[in-house]
Symmetry: C2
Amino acid sequence: MNDSTIQNFKEILRKEGLRYTKQRQAVWDEIQNSQEHRDAEDIYMSIRNNGVNVSRATVYRTIDVLVKNRMVRKMDVGDGRNRYEPRLGDAHHDHMICVETGKIIEFYNEELEDLQEKIAEENGYMLVRHIHQLFVKPLKK
Amino acid sequence: MNDSTIQNFKEILRKEGLRYTKQRQAVWDEIQNSQEHRDAEDIYMSIRNNGVNVSRATVYRTIDVLVKNRMVRKMDVGDGRNRYEPRLGDAHHDHMICVETGKIIEFYNEELEDLQEKIAEENGYMLVRHIHQLFVKPLKK
DNA sequence: CCCTTTTTGAGACTGAGTCTCATTCGGATA
DNA sequence: TATCCGAATGAGACTCAGTCTCAAAAAGGG
């Protein structure tokens, strides 16, 4: 929402040879302004409720650009709907999903990250990215 | 395909209050007889090619029973189609997917497993299951 | 302001998976 | 082994996230 973020977004569009439109800005604003893990429909509805006319097609198309440029992270929670969250330069993290409440908890563990790279290398590969979700339930008190 | 496996399968059906049918047996046979990571359509087509009449609905319904009873593992490779593999009592493993060739490599790392339980516990949760996929590309020679 | 090119949006389409319900089958019982 | 009834099956309708189409609208360089 601040100037530097908008400039950054414009730069990415330029780099991709894409035009700056209010719809694209609205999608980025919407994702950026909420730290939650939201699905596309949710993002689409919010933008419309904010009075910006946009189509689902445009929402999906813009999300793809944002994901490709690492401004947004796409995550598969396993219920058939992808969730999105802004990256905003903050450190990488994985997710823990409570199977009882659906609550999503973020976590980051250095050791875990290193181990994954090591495993890939041991097999003759380089780690590009990973999907890692822990499905958990509350510990009995 | 051998007697004890069939008995085991029948036992699970009984436990679930389900009847033993040739379609259900065919689905289990099909998954069991291939160590590959196959999708539902693939399994469905193979069974039909083997001369057993079965519907997609039955394939999906049977897979659900097998997954619930831990005879089959369901995995999300991220392309919108779930893959299935037999468990056959063999040890747990995760997958590495080559983004260049699509090859799926299985791996198991004790340290990684322990670490995940530890992380869940540190957050007041118990690990129920996890999704863990490493997307990799070949190391440059 | 013009003009070319890109973007948009409404809604058609896709494809994996689920649901429906009339028909068929399993298997317990006698 | 024949009967019977609830469970299982299958064809295809349906769902739903996401993609595609293409005419109309907007961007933005000149």
